[in-house]
Symmetry: C2
Subunit: 358 residues, 2 copies
């Protein structure tokens, strides 16, 4: 498996420099040398989040950081609006249900983006909605949602806007502060080019007021405690020190390339993927295709599982199939994070050959 190139939407391929960084000697997390690295990560992450808000690191997966959003922004009995257009929209709804948050749901067909007008209407009809939970890049469908327009729909209401950008951050344009997004959830192992193990949260002043005044108690995810530690460049509990080394390196690489250049690279990669796949006669699954990930429908009569297995075993490349009811129906090719055009073209060529063989 260690010779297989990942074209999966997380974990993704990790640069050698980052893998080298995470193998560094462990430092004590309460010492100034580690705080220096931590400070660098927080400061540089702000440029990736495009935000002056607080940035929190959790030793967790992206789902952990989603849970942190729900438990810190809502109290039991609160109402939230959840946009479901795939598996990760569903995850927001499941989290709300687990933590006794009443939900208004906007259900979109999988493969489509949400219409921001529906959000506006729902917020008007339900002025008691405390938070809107949505997704930047819905990994299960390769759809990008119009966060800028969603933020406009939420603006002027009391609701907070929380965006799952776990697989979207750094591959899709996201102007957190300028657009008015209150909470951005991210994770180390997607376009941020790290192994899994760190969840990130970027939190606006409006969201900070909400968690400071929140009635719900929490512990591991408690942002009040995390915020107090952040002032000392620490975390309340022992952080995944070596993963922080990796994130530090990866974010430095992103800043060296330039955040807007990274967005442009992903736009270009997505263009290459869409053109090549359509040239193969394949149909895009998403009507709002993302820049980090492209999904195509499996042609009638072709065996999705066999295609993916052959690509993995022979071409040594790991692609993703569909999830839930899309299993066997779509193929997803991630070009997020550590991906150059030649890597992607190699993947597309391999897929083409495999399709021709079948």
């Amino acid at each position: 498996m260690k010779d297989k190139r990942l074209f999966t939407p997380g974990p993704t391929e990790v640069p050698k420099e980052v893998l080298k960084a995470i193998s560094g000697k462990v430092m004590h997390h309460r010492k100034k040398e580690f705080s220096g690295i931590f400070e660098n990560v927080i400061k540089n992450s702000a440029s990736v989040f495009r935000s002056q808000g607080e940035i929190f690191l959790f030793s967790s997966s992206g789902t952990g950081a989603m849970e942190a959003s729900v438990v810190n922004l809502t109290s039991p009995g609160d109402k939230a609006l959840v946009i479901i257009a795939g598996k990760f929209g569903q995850r927001w709804a499941q989290l709300c249900s687990a933590f006794d948050v009443e939900t208004e749901i906007i259900d979109c067909p999988w493969g489509e983006a949400v219409d921001p007008q529906k959000i506006k209407d729902s917020l008007q009809a339900n002025p008691d909605i405390k938070a809107v939970f949505t997704t930047l890049l819905e990994t299960s469908t390769a759809v990008v949602h119009p966060i800028k327009e969603i933020a406009e729909a939420v603006r002027g209401t009391n609701a907070l806007l929380a965006v799952d950008a776990v697989s979207g951050l750094s591959c899709e344009e996201l102007e957190t502060d300028q657009w008015g997004v209150d909470v951005v959830v991210a994770a180390s192992h997607k376009a941020l080019m790290n192994p899994p193990g760190l969840g990130l949260l970027c939190v606006s002043d409006k969201a900070k007021r909400a968690y400071e005044n929140n009635a719900r108690k929490s512990y591991y995810w408690d942002l009040k405690k995390a915020s107090a530690s952040l002032k000392n460049l620490q975390t309340p509990y022992t952080p995944a020190v070596n993963m922080v080394y990796g994130l530090d390196k990866a974010i430095e690489m992103i800043l060296a390339e330039g955040v807007e250049n990274v967005w442009q690279r992903h736009r270009d990669l997505a263009g290459v993927a869409r053109e090549a796949l359509q040239d193969m006669g394949l149909e895009l699954f998403s009507t709002s295709p993302s820049n980090g990930l492209t999904a195509v429908k499996v042609p009638e009569g072709k065996d999705c599982k066999k295609i993916l297995t052959n690509l993995e075993e022979n071409a040594r490349m790991v692609f993703a199939g569909g999830q839930s009811h899309l299993k066997g129906k779509i193929i997803r090719i991630a070009h997020m994070g550590w991906c150059a055009e030649k890597d992607l073209r190699r993947a597309l060529d391999a897929l083409k050959k495999e399709l021709e063989k079948q």
Copy 2:
């Protein structure tokens, strides 16, 4: 900092082989090759936990795994017995409070172990206690609690026994199944010789029945979901893949040495530490000293902070001071995990020289 040898009770020193393992290429967590490694970790961990119970891995710190215990074993309004003899006993109580668990508290002076008779008495007086939360090695005081006798006190009651063995597992004797411990909490970055980033839980059949029938809902920590994934050698959410590589390597090293030999090495190291420290005229802080960590009182007139800073800056060794009200009053020297007698003797010599200089 990267040239400083850690004698801190977590993070601890990590063998080069483990650091090399965690820098391996990232595998996809839903593929059979990763499941093979995961299976190996789970199977081999059972030998370290000395248990046939379920073993769960969380991408989290040890505190995350403690939270998982509380939310899965208790429902709001339940009563628990908490043994507080230091900062990590307090953490159990804080977690219970955060999750609306009523607590009976046995408060022990810091530096002493709990008297199991008090637990027996409390359980007799409070037959509605659902769980007993205690600590194997109380890191803040270097005390080891008599878990075997505590388990005897709990046996025959309906209560579950959950033990925080975050810094104790593999350096203190612990016969999970034989003694009748229901939940053991551990973490990667103490005597398990890994960097921080993984929390572990070992769960008995009795505790499994409790979490299966628990009324409280949870999400990231949900053991019902984790148990279903475990059957497929997976985790519900993306695990910290590279940290799992490291844990796999470290646990193989522990098994190669032999679990009982590792316990004996820690007994021997503790003997060396206690003798040398007392020979320096220092007084042990704990009346029930642990094998993984030794604490001594700072002699009257000596400046604890200066001692620790000089050791760090000049001898390039990181020791720990006291926490909470013990700040400035004790010095803690960890000899847990990746520690040989020569490493420890080097540390003790450095401390001796530093004390003579002052």
